[in-house]
């Protein structure tokens, strides 16, 4: 079971842990030393992620690789079981990359109070996020899932905007409530099957679990994950958290934290509870498409740039959930593709929104006025690029997830009502139109027109450290957009196995 390369997965967790611990050893570090420290540690954590991607056997993407399986708490039969397959590998790499880029971005950010604490919080966050995607034991998954909450709470509550306290409290209470339900669902699975091993549970395809139990467990697990995703109408913690969070917090929140919710569907809810998924899928699909249209409409009337991007996540995650709801290989591929694309694109969008807020001192669209393409042409162009990627233009990463989700809805899994899913598809199609509408209206307001009265306090266009944080994202958006096979060829075999199709 445990392969010799299992240490790579451990390294992914150990490096940020040691890095976080090392912060206590440093005696009164200077600002610049802390900047360098963050980049070095997260860069070092990126190395095993890269090694993982390089040594991954792409011919056998469905199998769990780089596995580590050791007893953790023998009395409770809990195991420290880690590994990657085609479903988790892209997310692990994305997480390590985004964390690294956040530290790169922090290199240039102006005086940040309590920088040592910020570095610590982000490193702990990194452990939780990576661990969630590596865990192959239900309880271990849950532990990592929860580890993430606390540093994120502090990131919002300490380094956030003027109304950060309320936003942070809402964030933690809401997601903790979701976690309680999730834990109950996981324990229900455990009590019925007697194992917490995700690989074994997924391999059984729900054998030994009565249909009623599966439905209850799926609803419990699903609600817990849906809060994190977030699914309409459980999304209201998100806009506040995003608006108040500092730039790096927003980037990681949108880029990685939301993915933990959707990843749970692909890793646990759907493979372990196939009958439950089948029964609940129409509801999931319905909530998903309502979220798509609702999120888009909410964006259309938004005044704050960061809040608008936050609501756009509700819509995009709607496409991801719609993909899951179809229970088809293509739909789940779409969801996984959409996950990565959204992480890259919305991560970039939040970086840009943060840069705009830094320069103008506000993210309110009517206050920003217009003419950004004239005042800050490179920043304006990058914003245009990111928005166009986010509205799902073919040739950029955002398209494939949405298109394939709609394709999945066109022909849902056998047993699901086809007419119902055709309606979902049509509503989703309408959603793509509304998505285009709000992004273009926003671009028109902010980047076009003659410059307004508000002069940026800092009139320099994109800086070097900003380029270094953003260009990798731009390149990946182009790569996955022009060559979707790069991602689909990894996820597809794993998805086929997960659904028991092969």
């Amino acid at each position: 079971m445990t392969t010799w390369t299992g240490w790579l997965t451990v390294a992914l967790l150990v490096i940020p842990t040691l890095g976080a611990a090392g912060l206590f050893v440093l005696h009164k570090p200077t600002e610049s030393a802390l900047k360098a420290y963050g980049v070095i540690v997260s860069g070092a954590a990126l190395l095993p992620a890269a090694a993982l991607a390089l040594t991954f056997d792409y011919g056998d993407a469905a199998a769990i690789q780089h596995e580590l399986n050791a007893p953790w708490i023998p009395g409770l039969d809990l195991r420290f079981h880690l590994g990657v397959d085609g479903i988790s590998l892209p997310l692990v790499v994305l997480t390590a990359l985004l964390t690294f880029l956040c530290f790169v971005y922090l290199l240039g950010a102006r005086a940040v109070g309590r920088r040592r604490e910020l570095v610590f919080a982000l490193l702990v966050l990194d452990i939780g996020m990576i661990g969630t995607f590596l865990a192959l034991d239900l309880l271990l998954f849950f532990v990592f899932f929860e580890v993430v909450l606390i540093p994120m709470y502090f990131v919002i509550a300490i380094w956030g905007g003027p109304r950060r306290r309320a936003a942070a409290v809402k964030f933690i209470l809401y997601t903790l409530l979701g976690s309680v339900v999730l834990l109950l669902g996981l324990l229900l699975i455990w009590s019925q099957t007697g194992t917490l091993d995700i690989v074994a549970l997924a391999g059984a395809h729900g054998a030994g679990l009565p249909r009623g139990v599966q439905i209850v467990a799926f609803i419990a697990v699903g609600v817990g994950l849906a809060v994190k995703t977030p699914m309409w109408p459980l999304h209201t913690w998100l806009p506040d958290a995003h608006t108040e969070a500092p730039t790096v917090g927003s980037v990681l929140l949108a880029g990685v934290l939301l993915k933990m919710g959707t990843y749970g569907f692909a890793r646990i809810a759907i493979p372990v509870l196939p009958d439950g998924a089948h029964a609940v899928a129409p509801w999931l699909g319905a909530f998903a498409v309502v979220g798509i249209v609702y999120g888009a409409l909410a964006c259309l009337a938004q005044r704050d740039l960061k809040r608008m991007i936050a609501y756009s996540s509700v819509g995009h995650m709607g496409f991801v959930l719609l993909g899951f709801a179809t229970l088809t290989p293509v739909g789940i591929n779409a969801a996984l593709f959409g996950n990565i694309a959204h992480g890259l694109i919305t991560g970039l969008l939040f970086f840009l929104a943060g840069a705009i807020k830094d320069r103008y001192g506000t993210a309110d669209m009517s206050a920003l006025g217009g003419g950004m393409l004239g005042r800050l042409p490179y920043l304006g162009s990058l914003l245009t690029f990111a928005c166009i990627a986010s509205l799902g233009l073919p040739g950029l990463a955002g398209f494939w997830g949405e298109m394939l989700a709609l394709l999945g809805a066109f022909q849902p899994a056998p047993g699901l009502s086809r007419p119902l899913f055709l309606v979902f598809m049509a509503v989703g199609g309408l959603g793509t139109l509304l998505t285009a509408a709000y992004f273009l209206v926003m671009l028109s307001r902010v980047t076009h027109g003659s410059p307004g009265p508000l002069v940026p306090t800092d009139g320099t266009d994109v800086r070097k450290y900003e380029y270094s944080a953003w260009v990798p994202l731009v390149l990946l958006i182009l790569l996955f957009g022009l060559w979707p096979k790069a991602l689909l060829s990894i996820t597809d075999p794993a998805v086929q196995t997960l659904l028991g199709a092969r």
Partner: protein
């Protein structure tokens, strides 16, 4: 050979990358814009002359459902359309060096044209409908970026957004149409769909083609999705020539022709297409008659001419439609580039600011006259032959039913109106007393880089008709020329009486509705745009008061409940003891009564 096709697609793309990321010099930008376009034009011509069908697949993308095959397939139709796209693109790139080089943003402008050329070639050469869709949408993006080129002006920005959204509305249908036909045939490959359509049910065919038609209507600016095109004239004139007259708007017609066997098997769809075409061709021609903006005249004329192609397709003659597509591409690009020369000189788009230009701009006058003659369908210009072929096809179909007869009648009426509006524009621009121009630093006709493409395009606009060796159909030819001259004659008669005033006054009370294109924009705004905004505001309010209100409410409830519980925990020993005693009393009574 497949490498040739792939290179033709890739070179302009690389040109776009080089233009955007390369050194910040206009000279470099101009070179990386013109050279790839020229090489692509040569390669496209080579493919067309070779006449051998070239196809190849680079890879198959497994999606978990139907796979996507990344490949190219150059049929004869594709090769011809590819030549049109690259030749016009090359002409526009060369012309733009003169027209736009003093623009601050020439680099991005020329790069977007290169990107557009690449996307158009991808559409034309694609072997798979999903690959075609990728190019199709990128064209839409380029159109958006180029219409909004002068984004300082809010009106241009609005026009760009409108163009993108209206075409995207159609494209949603287009994508679903691809799904329907793809699943019907079990493959997204165009070739497979064409060979396997007999296995599909009539319902599948009709639904699939109707959905595709939505995208076609959006891209080719056909009623009811035509409203974006006149506004798209906000972009620089060379863009109007390239994207909004000759190539992108022709893509819709091209797609129908490419999948023609499938459309031909769905008679219901063809009837809808015919009705859309009839409505569009006459309505747009009438709107063109009342516009004062020269570019808007040409824009409405484009809608009308594209509708004639659609009419020919509905009459089951794809060859006639493509023939008109090619000649229209040449003469409409010519007309726009000439209009650009005129606008460059007089610094206004409005015909009321022009007049008497034939003496000062003899080359423009001669070439634009060729363009107008082709538009009116006068022999020997190319438009005569192609319009004749389209009309003959519609006349042939008219024998088959009342509806088709109505379509044919509308087409003939359109020919007369076309004669009228083309003559009006020609007279208002080049004849009559010269208008006073505010901006007089442009003397002469314009730089050589602008004149050469015009002269070169005038050749196919005049002679392309002879390339197809089918003789004109005598009956329809005489009829259409007579109708066209009739329309021209009426306008001329009105104009002669007063050479300053606009002959459109002839329309009387109809003039304003025609100029406003029958108020379609107003209707759409009332029916769709404003309700969506209202709904959006409602959602924001609901989200705050109801959805989040419930969350906050549950938080307050919890606090309130804990407040109630707190009363019991106030630290007063007397209260605790009283409670204890009261509890004991209740238990005792309970035990006595129940026991």
């Amino acid at each position: 050979m497949i490498v040739v096709a792939a290179l033709a697609v890739l070179l302009p793309f690389l040109g776009a990358v080089g233009g955007l990321l390369g050194p910040r010099s206009v000279r470099w930008a101009a070179w990386v814009a013109v050279v790839p376009a020229a090489v692509s034009a040569v390669l496209a011509a080579w493919l067309a002359i070779g006449r051998a069908r070239v196809s190849g697949t680079l890879t198959l993308i497994e999606t978990g459902s139907l796979p996507i095959s990344v490949g190219l397939d150059v049929t004869e139709l594709s090769a011809l359309t590819g030549v049109l796209a690259t030749v016009v693109a090359l002409a526009v790139q060369v012309y733009s060096v003169g027209y736009m080089r003093y623009e601050r943003r020439y680099r991005s402008y020329s790069a977007f044209i290169s990107l557009f050329t690449s996307a158009m070639l991808l559409v034309v050469y694609a072997a798979d409908l999903i690959v075609l869709y990728v190019g199709w949408e990128i064209m839409g993006l380029c159109s958006y970026l180029l219409i909004g080129h002068w984004w300082e002006d809010r009106a241009n920005s609005r026009a760009a957004v409108k163009a993108f959204l209206v075409t995207r509305l159609g494209d949603v249908g287009f994508l679903f149409g691809i799904f329907v036909l793809g699943f019907g045939a079990g493959s997204f490959r165009i070739d497979d769909i064409i060979t396997r359509f007999p296995e599909m049910s009539p319902a599948t065919l009709t639904v699939g083609t109707l959905l595709l038609l939505a995208g076609v209507a959006g891209k080719s600016a056909q009623a009811p999705l035509h409203t974006w095109l006149p506004d798209a004239m906000a972009g620089p004139t060379p863009i109007s020539a390239l994207i909004h007259a000759a190539t992108m708007v022709a893509a819709g017609i091209f797609v129908v022709a490419r999948l023609f066997p499938v459309f031909a098997a769905a008679p219901g769809t063809l009837t809808v297409l015919g009705a859309m075409a009839a409505l569009g061709m006459l309505g747009a021609a009438l709107a063109a008659l009342a516009q004062d903006d020269l570019k808007r005249v040409l824009a409405y004329s484009t809608i009308s001419q594209l509708a004639i192609m659609a009419g020919a397709l509905a009459a089951r003659d794809a060859d006639a439609a493509i023939f008109h597509l090619l000649t229209h591409g040449a003469f409409k690009a010519l007309l726009f580039l000439c209009a650009g020369l005129v606008i460059h000189r007089v610094a206004t788009n409005l015909m009321s600011g022009m007049g008497g230009l034939r003496r000062v701009m003899p080359i423009t006058f001669a070439t634009m006259t060729v363009g107008f003659a082709a538009l009116m369908g006068l022999p020997p210009a190319s438009g005569f032959f192609s319009k004749d072929a389209a009309l003959a096809a519609m006349g042939e179909a008219a024998r088959g039913g009342v509806l088709n007869t109505i379509f044919y009648g509308t087409a003939l009426l359109t020919v007369a109106v076309t004669g009228a509006y083309a003559t009006r524009a020609w007279l208002r621009t080049f004849f009559g007393p010269p208008a006073v121009t505010a901006d007089d630093h442009h003397t002469g006709e314009g730089p050589a880089t602008m004149l050469w493409p015009v002269v070169v395009l005038a050749v196919p606009a005049l002679l392309l008709g002879f390339a197809v060796l089918t003789p004109p159909h005598l009956g329809t030819a005489v009829l259409s020329v007579a109708l066209s001259l009739l329309g021209a004659g009426v306008v001329y008669a009105v104009w002669r009486r007063d050479r300053v005033r606009d002959p459109a006054r002839l329309l009387g009370p109809l003039r304003v509705p025609f100029e406003r294109a029958f108020y379609v924009d107003t209707v759409y705004s009332t029916l769709f745009v404003r309700p969506v905004w209202a709904l959006a505001r409602l959602v924001v309010r609901t989200d705050d008061t109801v959805v989040d209100g419930a969350v906050r409410g549950s938080g307050r409830t919890a606090q309130g409940m804990s407040g109630l519980l707190r009363f019991a925990q106030n630290g007063n020993a007397q209260v605790y003891v009283s409670g204890l005693l009261a509890g004991l009393l209740v238990i005792v009574i309970g035990a006595v009564v129940l026991g």
